[in-house]
């Protein structure tokens, strides 16, 4: 290293650098790649999405439905609709599975004490926070992609084995637009749930709290949703502010062509805006907690 001295005589050593955002993202990615929970989650996701499509298809085939109803139900799992079904399944699975990854990304650093090593190295707390957040959102997109591919491959197998024709003729501009929107909606929805777990874990400095919040919050809102729908307009108004309601509003719009939307469902713009608000509020809360609070070094 080139060593120079400042006016006080200390070596300034200009080659010493604080890590940039890119280096920190690389560090977070490396830690995740070797972390068993990532691969377990990915296996559950790919296995789960494939299995659900396969089992749902087989159970529909074996059901006592009349031929017309059965054919209509089976269409859900056969390409091209199998792609949308994959998005729906993966979004639900990811919403649960990635909560663990999201909470672990920040909560584990406090339980292991490694956050002290990182902060005392001179790395900016802001950059550490955003490196983790960016890594998390990247995992969301990657897992969604892999999960949908796994589900779609299963759907292709089901399509061919059921004697249906698999053709690329249906792939046109509208099809691509619908598929792209489904991908964006799914990524966004999973991202919101992951941010929830990440933020709670960051504020509480606990992996368990993050996982509990990520899963428990959704369960609680679903119970609340049922209750609110029975108490008139006030209930409906509050219901429109719930995360699950707005997630459902977006997911209902996934599909090829116009979709049937349930009554009292928020508009896509409203749902997106409310979820963005939740996300930003959670991120802001976690950011302040991460960058401002003391990190005690032992007793």
């Amino acid at each position: 290293m080139t060593q120079q001295r400042d006016r006080r005589g200390f070596e300034t050593d200009r080659a010493r650098q604080r890590p940039g955002l890119g280096a920190l993202i690389a560090m977070e990615s490396m830690k995740l790649v070797y972390r068993p929970v990532i691969w377990v989650t990915l296996a559950l996701l790919t296995g789960g999405s494939s299995l659900i499509i396969l089992m749902a298809y087989l159970s529909t085939r074996a059901s006592n439905l009349d031929a017309t109803s059965q054919a209509a139900r089976l269409q859900t799992f056969i390409m091209p609709h199998g792609l949308m079904e994959s998005f729906a399944i993966v979004s639900r699975l990811n919403g649960i599975l990635l909560v663990v990854v999201a909470a672990a990304l920040i909560g584990s650093e406090f339980s292991w004490g490694t956050i002290k090593v990182m902060v005392s190295s001179g790395a900016s707390r802001s950059k550490l926070f955003f490196a983790k957040l960016i890594t998390l959102l990247s995992v969301v997109v990657i897992f969604l992609t892999i999960g949908v591919i796994a589900g779609s491959v299963t759907s292709v197998i089901v399509t061919i084995s059921s004697g249906n024709t698999l053709t690329l003729g249906i792939v046109n501009g509208a099809w691509l637009a619908d598929a792209s929107m489904a991908a964006l909606r799914s990524s966004f929805v999973i991202g919101v749930l992951a941010i929830l777990a990440f933020a709670v874990s960051g504020v509480t400095r606990s992996l368990v709290a993050g996982v509990t919040a990520g899963i428990g919050w959704i369960v609680l809102e679903q119970v609340l949703h049922v209750f609110l729908s029975t108490i008139g307009n006030v209930g409906l108004f509050i219901d429109r502010l719930l995360i699950v309601t707005n997630i459902s509003a977006l997911m209902q719009r996934d599909g090829f062509g116009p979709q049937r939307i349930e009554p009292h469902t928020p508009s896509e713009l409203a749902a997106f805006s409310i979820l963005i608000f939740y996300s930003l509020a959670l991120i802001a809360m976690a950011y302040v907690a991460f960058t401002r609070r003391d990190i005690q070094a032992g007793s």
Binding site: A26, K31, A123, A297, S299
Partner: protein, 332 residues
């Protein structure tokens, strides 16, 4: 090992004697760590109270105190983990606003278990390397060799013993060739062989010019390694100085006589005898401005036979216990 340590040295000149040349280069009042009125309150509890001390470049500075005295909180404030309630901390002459820059020159061992248990020792260091972009990849293996962990480098850290984790922590702290090493209980949990290794390593690093700030409960170790020591209790520094200075403040004279009761009566009335304690026929005195030979003469003139007279230089442990309020010295 010496060649590996030399490559770690932050000294710009080789073969410098510990402390002196650095102090001469930087000026007598240049401090690598300086705290002024450092205070940390948690509600009504004052964990650190108006702490002011300097650590000079090139020295090994010991920071000792009982459990709960504020050592770890002080270290946390030095490392930017905890924000002081008031007061200032300067590292390398840089204040709070430049803390990130100054910390790039600092290596710290504050928690030996602060590693990713699912990663191997090598991968943990590779991950740490990302925090210091200027560190070349081969430094990881050099550090593993330095702390004798090359053989276990590919095992998960979760399978390491406490001693191995401590050594890995030291390797991590040295990875980026720091100019200042901050160690919080570096020998905690180590067996005697491990303690000796760490002590040897610290001494060698200090001889090569690395400044070291070390908190420890093992006073014998601090006494052997450190140039200067600060004793902290209830968040305040109660003694601060070189090891020799601190020990001289509690130097004692021990005598054995045939008539201890009579001797004690005489001695307690003598100006310059500040403390007298008796155990059987052995009397321990703390003298201030009176020579032991004068005490001997006085007792002999009073008809008391003096069988034994010698000066006792207390250990740092004695000084620590006396300073923090423990009322018994261990028998020499």
């Amino acid at each position: 090992m010496p060649s590996q340590l030399e490559s770690l040295s932050a000294a710009s000149e080789r073969g410098t004697s510990r402390g002196a040349t650095r102090r001469g280069t930087l000026g007598a009042d240049e401090a690598i760590i300086r705290t002024i009125g450092l205070t940390k309150r948690y509600g009504t509890t004052v964990a650190v109270n108006e702490l002011s001390f300097d650590v000079r470049a090139g020295e090994v500075f010991g920071f000792v105190g009982p459990n709960g005295s504020g050592k770890s909180t002080t270290i946390a404030m030095l490392l930017g983990l905890v924000t002081p309630t008031s007061g200032t901390v300067e590292l390398f002459g840089l204040g709070q606003e430049r803390r990130g820059d100054s910390l790039t020159r600092v290596g710290a061992v504050i928690d030996a278990s602060a590693y990713y248990p699912y990663l191997s020792g090598r991968r943990n260091l590779l991950a740490l390397r990302r925090l210091h972009p200027e560190v070349p990849a081969q430094r990881v293996d050099e550090m593993l060799d330095l702390v004798d962990l090359r053989g276990a480098a590919n095992r998960r850290v979760g399978q390491y013993s406490l001693g191995m984790k401590q050594r890995l922590a030291i390797a991590g702290a040295l990875l980026h060739n720091p100019q200042l090493l901050i160690l919080d209980e570096p020998t905690n949990g180590l067996d005697p062989a491990g303690i000796l290794e760490v002590r040897h390593l610290i001494t060698q690093l200090a001889d090569l010019g690395t400044s070291i700030f070390m908190s420890s409960h093992m006073l014998s170790e601090v006494e052997q390694i450190c140039d200067r020591v600060a004793i902290i209790d209830h968040g305040k520094i109660i003694m601060n100085g070189s090891v020799a200075e601190l020990m001289s403040t509690h130097r004692q004279t021990r005598i054995r006589v045939d008539k201890p009761a009579r001797a004690v009566e005489i001695l307690r009335g003598l100006r310059g005898v500040t403390e007298v304690s008796v155990s059987n026929t052995r009397i321990t005195l703390t003298l201030d401005g009176v020579a032991p030979a004068d005490v001997n003469s006085l007792l002999v003139l009073a008809g008391i036979r003096v069988h034994e007279l010698h000066e006792v230089t207390p250990t740092l442990e004695h000084v620590f216990l006396a300073s923090t309020g423990s009322n018994e010295y261990s028998q020499a």
